[in-house]
Symmetry: C2
């Protein structure tokens, strides 16, 4: 930087100011710097920069399972917005593993990021560990809420998901039973079950929850095995199956196909199947999957905006806001 200062005829402190915020120097100076920059292509050493700044320009992004296209999609949205805001996203996936999530928090803490956008594992998260982290680093939770942790939570309204699907399915045929994992990793799953029960009750219908076994993040396989089991045992209480999420539904559809059960809403079909999330692949199942989609844009947009508000506010918010966005019903062929 010393050399570049000499070459460009600008003092080093002014250069330092420029690199911190180009708008903070006079336009004429800025032009001179940028001209010199185009000739000598100097770049500040990020490590030296970050050492002397309390907070870096990095934003950590943590998702629980990146191999799930749903999270990959969210991550993509978040990255884009973070970059647009002049920050650098640093992406991590917990891979569904509690310890991995803790390791990521450690790594991230030592990076002194300006803030973190975190979708926690949920039930499997180490609550106190995350709490300690949030005390040090401005954190906004998204997708999956951990009560009281982080400066804010942004997600989708699980009740909105399920009430829409239940009402639609009820008004067009038999009321749905609800397929879910008995031990879901994600707290959203519990909220969806409760929303299902409440929605059915509101319609004066008898709820039927099918809690199937299975651990981990291989939801398709769990839905598939559950489907095989339920279909061969003829244990389905209704001809309409509402799955807690699309990945379960995808597996369930595969089982239906194998068992020769015709899924669809048209005449001649045996079963209707619907899901939740608006999974990127739900369009390409056979039949295409009726689902209720997250408002990806709104969630990612507001998550990032909230985080920047927190950062501008010195890392804390007067009170922890929870923002929930309604979901959108997508009618396709499966129900």
């Amino acid at each position: 930087m010393e050399e570049f200062a000499a070459l460009s005829g600008i003092s080093r402190p002014t250069l330092s100011k420029y690199f911190h915020d180009p708008e903070s120097v006079r336009p004429s100076t800025r032009n001179r710097i940028e001209e010199a920059l185009s000739k000598h292509d100097y770049r500040p050493n990020i490590y030296a920069v970050n050492q002397n700044r309390r907070m870096t320009k990095n934003i950590g992004v943590i998702v629980p399972y990146l191999a799930d296209p749903f999270f990959a999609e969210i991550a993509r949205n978040l990255e884009r917005r973070v970059i647009d805001a002049g920050y650098s996203p640093v992406l991590f996936s917990s891979h569904g593993d509690r310890n991995q999530e803790k390791d990521i928090l450690d790594t991230l803490r030592s990076q002194k990021p300006a803030g973190v956008l975190m979708a926690p594992l949920g039930r499997n998260s180490d609550r106190s560990y995350i709490e300690a982290f949030c005390a040090d680093v401005p954190t906004v939770l998204f997708d999956s809420n951990l009560e009281g942790l982080g400066e804010a939570f942004v997600g989708s309204d699980n009740f909105s998901f399920v009430s829409q699907s239940v009402q639609y399915l009820h008004s067009t045929g038999e009321p749905p039973c609800f397929l879910e994992m008995a031990n879901p990793a994600n707290p959203n799953a519990h909220k969806r079950r409760r929303a299902y029960l409440a929605s059915m009750e509101a319609l004066d219908l008898e709820p039927e929850v099918l809690s199937v076994p299975g651990e981990g993040w291989g939801f398709e396989e769990i839905g598939y095995q559950a489907g095989l089991d339920l279909l061969t045992r003829r244990a389905l209480p209704t001809d309409t199956v509402l799955c807690s999420n699309d990945r379960l539904a995808i597996g369930f559809l595969a089982a239906c196909y194998e068992c020769g059960v015709r899924v669809g809403k048209t005449g001649g079909c045996d079963l209707r199947v619907a899901g939740h999330d608006g999974h990127p692949f739900s369009r390409y199942t056979s039949p295409s999957l009726t689902t209720v989609a997250h408002d990806y844009d709104a969630v990612s947009n507001h998550s990032v905006e909230t985080l920047f508000t927190v950062i501008e506010n010195g890392g804390h918010l007067p009170d922890r806001a929870e923002t929930l966005y309604p979901a959108r019903l997508i009618l396709r062929m499966s129900a």
Copy 2:
């Protein structure tokens, strides 16, 4: 560190050595350090450390499109191995965008990583830009080869993919036509077409390549649209369709379903469909997709190992090795 040195009764330079490599100090000293460490939980400032080290302990991982579960899976494998080797993975996705890929390279260069594992966009990559990057940072290419770039290439043998699928399909029914994108983003697609042509020729069969329009990384949609078009026009030359990759096949299957075309290898079916890659979701299509799978483990394992060899070798290899792993045929219901 100064304070911790005082607290632990160890000199600062010795501590510095310890953090660089715990094995480099005498066991008795190491124990004393680790004991003190457990009490005072001090951690070196990574920015100060990296400033004074030429190379960091970071390994960049770049994939072209993280929303593709195939790459998410590979990334997960690579991350794990990098961590096990005592390094920190830094994950990036080009999101199918040429400029994004270049930006990532810039970001990564300024991070002075010990090495980079890169799956380039392929045809869409800025070759000279990557070349300049590779000159500065030890880089191993994987999945998609750019001739001559990087210290090595590790991937799957496209010929092995296609020859297996062609032979299998031929020996069990009509020889396949080949469905591909007219303008594929990935160079593997070209190799697969050539492998198809060669395999058909070797069997003395007439090849039929269906090159369908479509740009970008929304392969399912492209396969779906192609399927609708081909099926409604009854333009398929055979009753066996071999797709260049599984994502195209997934879209194609959706089209078949909608058109009422029964896909499968059993009697009473109209069409056989197969793909390549061993996509994580290929198990759950309807019908389940016959495919030829990458040897994920071998590819990711050898990529990481190769990179570490390069790093130990001072960043360069005597000559650029290209390692190709054979694929494995997975028989399912679709063909």
